[in-house]
């Protein structure tokens, strides 16, 4: 079996044959005509008119007219294709020397009704028959914003889907969550399964250890220009057949393929410019020093005297130290074929430089796919995609931290001495780290080589029987080299590290998927149709990660593992296998009532042998009531959907037994120590269960000019497998167990419309709106809270995301200011910050810090929404997407640092006197005036290090912000050159476009881009900025040529 699985993909090239055909012409005539909209009688522009037999094709002009001259005499099928309209075919007879006029009327299609949508395993099903919601993004909509990462390209385009860009770093990861978080386990993967052409691919993000470097999520390897469509399967009913691996939903990607006919060549070239889209407001008044005094050679960058009172001047280090990032994206694809064989081939290269200097990311993708149908009822499809990606990943967090410490009286860009050593900002350059020097020399390169390939055999021995077998692999190696130099050996140098170190990481991951589907179709009676599908699915993953770490370089400037004093090695092997069988029965009564029943049984290697097998069913109903009811004329179509489904989930690998491990410090002196693992495995684990209910409706009005899709869902995930923290006296810190429940409830609304369609002008609009509420119903017996993650803040003012029984998912905890309550009165909700209660003001006249951990905010948005518009006038198209995410809170470590170091404008009050609004402990309003500066104030009182350092920076509350935003996600203006001009110079089409992305329209957040988050796409601690890579807005200019 293994042998069979390990098919050599290279041999698949043999299936793909490139085929060019030419044509000879003798006697000729002309075919011409006008295309109009049957409803409005208006002419239609840009309709594709094809004569397939001759491989001829042209769009209608501004008058809706077309003309083919020199058509060889004969009988042909003329075809008119237009998006949103039903395709029209007409036979024409061309006679020698004559003009045949064919006027065509087109009717708007119920396209989305008859439309086939891609569901599990890439199998197509009529949208009308679905009992659950599926949303599709086509290629044009996907690539409109020039996003290089397919995940970020989905942002704002699908209801119920939340996309978070972790920052503006080249190649950085983007996180996608469908219908909320389903796991209590802080380390769980809550992102959907990614499937390309029926084969699941890896979308994990393996973040760097140590300072975060913003590594890519692996789906970023996919070239978005190769994608034909993306279908988002949201609920458990939609993913029922995928089982375990799609418990968080699935992203089904279908790539472009060739079509029989002319060879088509598309060339696309884009240049883009990134700039930080939002800066905090920096103060330019006070310079280096402490207690308003200038102390020569002191660390403190901004607590000194006013610049105007010294001979020093302010530098805008934040803008000086960052740059405009430039990217180039070039691709070419060639496709075509004949009736027997089609093919698609593409080569694409992306090169991107970041806004933080010395960071970059490149991606080269080569893709080849083809389809051979040697017999009417048999075809073989295959595709192979080779990707090389990676770049120099700058230590953004460290860069920003050293930026905080840098005194703005020194030029931050003058960072390197002639001898190559670092120039700091004090002690004549010998002290203080420079952010740019760090970026330049503390390097981290990743280099991913990846091969994604599949082969599919599609065979229909009879009309009622089809066999489909797909074998796919996703294999990658990820080589990473991290180097931080030690001293160069120069007297008195300012070193980055006193020893220097090198880490070599080698990750190898190999996935194999095998899927067999047998489909039987039978018309039981005239009105009853059935379809039964049974299948088998095998998933096999081998993962191996070896890290060699060396530190303390012997010879300066020679960075090699052989040149270090200490070496340590670490290896992680993971193996996971999953076998599933499933059945799917579809009953169709008279094409208006559809019932789908599915069942799947999985056998997972990660569960204990006795509980390894588990079964889960689903049932869904689609009722298209407009087919059986008399509805008003304007009511085009109406459907109700309902589904009830279950899905199981297995355990993380190696959760069933106790082990011993070797702590990282060993070997020491030639001896290796062992310690019992802190995690207690469980041999009694059983699979997790998620039960979902989904109700929805799909309504269309005015001949589909207006559509409304509404979905309500609820899903409950029970018996979650996660490590519950236990008393360390047990000999463990956590025990893996089945416990807890999390509930997600929400609605999704999708509104589509074409409000205006007149001659030459059309306006399409799509509105998406969704809200989801995640509640932690139960944690585990005896456990009240689970820590998802925490973020540092000075003097205990950090924040933690904790899950508490009964509370919403994503509560942020931290320190606050004490509130005043009159005698014996208790706050209504003692675990939450009561912002309405007055501040308690201490004897010193300042608010009092409450060190108890209270809920200060929540990381989950109240709602997300978007409006996508496309306006076409003749050859011009303007499209723009506005999206909003509302009500999510964030802990800004940036602001904690800004306060501690007096960096932003809100520290300019440092010479003010203030009476803090609040109440003293006797219940009386506070009247005490205090000074906010450092040292002895005008009132003669010694205020020590001052309000900002002694009071404000100690309260987490001060650094929790509403990070709501409204963004112009993208706006694109495209112009297609007139057809007669392009055909004269031999092109089918030339389009020029300009695009801008990620422009903040509104946010109450005062820092950098409110969307940027620390921790990478894999992290569930999604409410921290840390000191992460700032967000960028981009401007692109593109040329697309079609031959």
């Amino acid at each position: 079996m293994q042998k069979l699985l390990q098919l050599n993909f290279l041999s698949l090239f043999a299936f793909i044959i490139l085929c060019f055909t030419g044509h000879q012409a003798l006697a000729q005539g002309v075919v011409s005509g006008t295309v109009t909209d049957a409803d409005s009688d208006e002419t239609l522009i840009g309709v594709n008119i094809l004569i397939d037999e001759l491989d001829l094709g042209m769009p209608t002009d501004a008058e809706g007219q077309f003309q083919f001259s020199n058509v060889p005499v004969g009988e042909y099928q003329l075809e008119a294709r237009y998006i949103g309209f039903n395709t029209v075919q007409r036979s024409v007879t061309v006679a020698d020397g004559e003009e045949t006029v064919v006027n065509l009327e087109m009717t708007m299609s119920n396209a989305e009704l008859d439309e086939l949508v891609v569901t599990s395993f890439g199998l197509e099903q009529e949208r009308k028959s679905l009992g659950y919601s599926v949303q599709e993004i086509d290629s044009e909509n996907l690539t409109v914003g020039n996003q290089s990462n397919v995940v970020s390209a989905l942002g704002g385009k699908v209801s119920g889907v939340q996309v978070t860009n972790t920052g503006g770093s080249p190649g950085s990861s983007s996180r996608i969550i469908i219908r909320g978080i389903n796991s209590l386990d802080p380390g769980a993967d809550n992102q959907p399964l990614f499937v390309v052409d029926g084969v699941p691919i890896d979308n994990s993000t393996i973040e760097s250890t140590g300072t975060p470097r913003g590594l890519s999520n692996r789906a970023a390897d996919i070239n978005p220009n190769d994608i034909e469509s993306v279908n988002v399967l949201k609920g458990a009913a939609a993913t029922a057949l995928y089982g375990v691996r799609a418990a968080n939903g699935a992203i089904i990607i279908t790539t472009k393929s060739g079509e029989a006919g002319d060879t088509q060549i598309n060339i696309s070239s884009t240049v883009g410019f990134d700039n930080i889209n939002k800066f905090p407001e920096f103060q330019e008044v006070y310079g280096q020093g402490w207690y308003f005094g200038q102390i020569e050679d002191d660390f403190w960058p901004n607590w000194g005297p006013k610049y105007e009172d010294t001979d020093q001047e302010y530098h805008d280090i934040w803008r000086d130290g960052t740059q405009t990032g430039v990217q180039y994206d070039n691709s070419i694809n060639v496709s075509g074929g004949n009736e027997l064989t089609t093919y698609y081939a593409s080569v694409a290269n992306l090169q991107q430089e970041g806004v933080l200097p010395y960071g970059n990311w490149d991606r080269t993708s080569v893709r080849l796919s083809g389809d051979i149908s040697p017999k009417e009822n048999f075809s073989v499809r295959s595709s192979i995609n080779y990707i090389n990606s990676g770049g120099d990943r700058v230590p953004a967090d460290r860069f920003m931290e050293t930026m905080m410490y840098w005194a703005p009286n020194e030029d931050v860009t003058n960072f390197e001495k002639e001898d190559g050593t670092q120039r700091g900002y004090y002690n004549d350059g010998s002290s203080g780290n420079n952010p740019l020097y760090g970026n330049k020399y503390m390097t981290y390169k990743d280099n991913v080589n990846r091969l994604i390939g599949n082969v599919t055999f599609d065979y229909s021995p009879a009309e009622w029987f089809n066999v489909l077998y797909t074998l796919g692999t996703d294999f990658y190696s990820d080589q990473r080299t991290e180097i931080t130099p030690g001293p160069r050996g120069v007297e008195g140098e300012n070193v980055l590290s006193s020893t220097g170190y090198i880490n070599e990481t080698r990750i190898n991951s190999r996935d194999i998927n095998s899927t067999l589907n047998l489909t039987f179709q039978k018309e039981v009676t005239e009105k009853v149709n059935t379809r039964l599908r049974v299948g088998n699915d095998i998933f096999d993953r081998d993962f191996n990660n070896i890290v060699s770490s060396g530190d303390d370089f012997v010879t300066p400037l020679f960075y090699h593992l052989s040149n270090v004093r200490n070496i340590s090695l670490n290896q992680e092997i993971r193996q996971r296998r999953l076998v599933g069988v499933y059945g799917d029965l579809l009953l169709d009564y008279d094409n208006f009532l559809f019932v789908n029943v599915t069942g799947r049984n999985d056998w997972s290697s990660t569960l204990p042998e006795d509980n390894r097998s588990f079964f889960y069913p689903s049932v869904s109903v689609g009722f298209s009531f407009s087919d059986v009811m008399d509805l008003p004329e304007y009511f085009t179509f109406g459907k109700l959907r309902a589904s009830l489904s279950q899905v199981g989930k297995d355990a993380p690998v190696y959760s069933t037994t106790d082990t011993y491990n070797t702590p990282s410090q060993y070997p020491l002196g030639g001896s290796v120590g062992f310690t019992r693992s802190n995690t207690r495995g469980s041999a009694d684990l059983k699979p997790e269960q998620t039960t979902s209910v989904e109700l929805g409706t799909d309504l269309r009005f005015f001949d589909n000019r207006l559509g409304l899709d509404f979905t309500w869902y609820q899903s409950n995930s029970r018996d979650q497998i996660f490590a519950v923290p236990i008393s360390q006296a047990t000999g463990y810190t956590q025990t893996i167990t089945n416990a807890g429940e999390i509930e997600n409830k929400g609605i999704e609304i999708q509104l589509t419309g074409r409000p205006v369609q007149v001659q030459d002008f059309a306006w399409d609009v799509t509105v998406n709106y969704s809200r989801n509420k995640s509640t932690v119903v139960e944690v585990a017996e005896g456990i009240e809270q689970i820590l998802v993650g925490s973020s540092f803040g000075y003097v205990g003012s950090g924040a933690a995301i904790q899950l508490t029984q009964g509370d919403p998912y994503g509560n942020i905890y931290g320190r606050s200011y004490e509130r005043y309550y009159p005698d014996n009165e208790e706050p209504e909700n003692p675990t939450h910050l009561d912002e309405d209660a007055p501040l308690l003001i201490g004897d010193d006249g300042f608010p009092v810090t409450n060190t108890d951990q209270l809920v200060l905010g929540n990381t989950q948005p109240d709602w997300v929404g978007s409006i996508n518009n496309s306006l076409s006038y003749k050859n011009l198209n303007l499209s723009f997407l506005i999206d909003a995410k509302w009500g999510q809170d964030v802990y800004s470590q940036y602001d904690n640092f800004f306060t501690a170091f007096g960096i932003t404008k809100n520290t300019l009050d440092r010479e003010d006197t203030r009476v803090f609004e609040g109440v003293t402990d006797d219940g009386q309003p506070n009247t005490q005036e205090v000074w906010l500066g450092q040292g002895v104030g005008p009132d003669g009182v010694d205020y020590g290090n001052g309000y900002h350092r002694n009071v404000k920076r100690e309260a987490t509350e001060e650094f929790i912000f509403d990070a709501s935003y409204i963004k112009l996600r993208n706006i694109r203006l495209a112009y297609s050159l007139p057809q007669n001009f392009t055909s004269d110079i031999g092109f089918r089409n030339i389009t020029l476009s300009a695009t801008a992305t990620n422009i903040i329209l509104y946010t109450p957040f005062e820092g950098f881009d409110p969307e940027s988050r620390a921790g990478g796409a894999g992290s569930n601690a999604d409410g921290f900025t840390a000191l992460d890579y700032p967000g960028v807005s981009s401007f692109f200019f593109s040329v697309n040529l079609s031959l």
Binding site: S605, T657, G669, S727
Partner: protein
Amino acid sequence: MKNFLKLSLIVSFSSFLFLAGCEDYLSVNDDPNNPTEAPALGLVTNVTYESAQNTYRMGSITSYYVQYLGSPNTGSTTDNQEASSYGTQWFRLYDTLTDLSDLEILAEEEGATQLVGIAKVLKAYNLATLVDAWGDAPYSEAFFGEELNPAYDDQENLYTEVFTLLDDGIQQLQMESTISAGTEDFLYGGNSAQWIQFANMLQARYLNHYSKQDSYSPQDILSAVDNGFASNDDDAQVSYFEDQVNPWASIAISNANLILGGWISEQTVEHLDGTTYGVEDPRIEFLMDTTGTGEYIGVENGAGRGDAQLDGYSFLTTETFYAGRTSPVLLATYTEQKFIEAEAALNATQPVRAYQAYLDGIEAHMDKLGVDEADKNAYLTDPAVAVGEAGLNIDLIMKEKYIAMFLNPEAWVDARRHDYSYENMDIPVNLNPDLGGEFIRRWVYPDSEEQRNVNTPDVSLLDSIFWDQ
């Protein structure tokens, strides 16, 4: 056509056959990264290393209570003796006790009596360290995950267990062993005789903790001392490695890189520089570095450094004895034993033995540090030190022991037994107000334990450990 049908049948059949053989195919869940059993000697390495680490981890907090160190910042929870959650210390002690429990069982199965003995002695050491900070603690229901909310054992009973472990350990170490440790044993390289001395020394130490109790027996202590360490060579210590430097050295290196720590308290500086006792102690230069201006200046506990320059104080550097890169962490020393002997002998009214032990203790410590003979003799003959048999009292012994125990958590036990009555030792300027002007007597249970174990007792920082009552 027929071939295709055949092919599809083969594929589907093989898939179903596959399911039949699925059990084997799916049996890949044995962790390939970590073994399910550990070698006994591998456990020995870890427990000896971690026992030293635990000594440091405790000392990294207690050294502020006894004012060896002072925080460069105001509002320091250690200087001010706040009710902090010392979760790391708690966890690491339990982690080590867990490995020791596994070692004990494994070594017994293998007839490795020496390793059983080592396990018992170190179990006693870590358990006593735990009790000295927290009092009652889970023990009889701990370590094997059988009870998720393990009960708390009474602290006096735990001390009884400490002595049982030491007695049993000595017995085991005297037997023939199937396996003996070598370099895996970071403390004694598998020298059973020294392990037995160490066990006796610990017996003396923990018996001495009863000094406030009726059951205090100086005679028992003196007989344990007789079987204890014979010289500095017997000290229970773990020397560190170039690739894993001494944890105090890490503090010193971080401090040099402006992550501040390891600053010497004013109390300790004045103890040594003649301010408090009128005699300059030559050991000062082995314990700390001078300031930028070549002086010894300590930070006042609780006051922070104010607006002084960063090199305006003395701190640990890698040039000092205790914070050198490969310096040892000391678990128990001959020097300490000499002061225990002095105290016990004094209480047993054996002034001659007491005075000799007092002088020997100072000399042993100076030898350990490498103080040169002339300086040593000058100090030993200074009238403030050479007080004679009649002049010796407990304050003097504790004063000398204080310096000899630099950075060791046992100093906090001494401070509590001695009621912090060292010359000039004042409460820190911003003392935790909950202490009402008193010094801290114990720790509160860490947050993690309070959240996870329903049996966690409610205690205050002023609830003394049983031997302190």
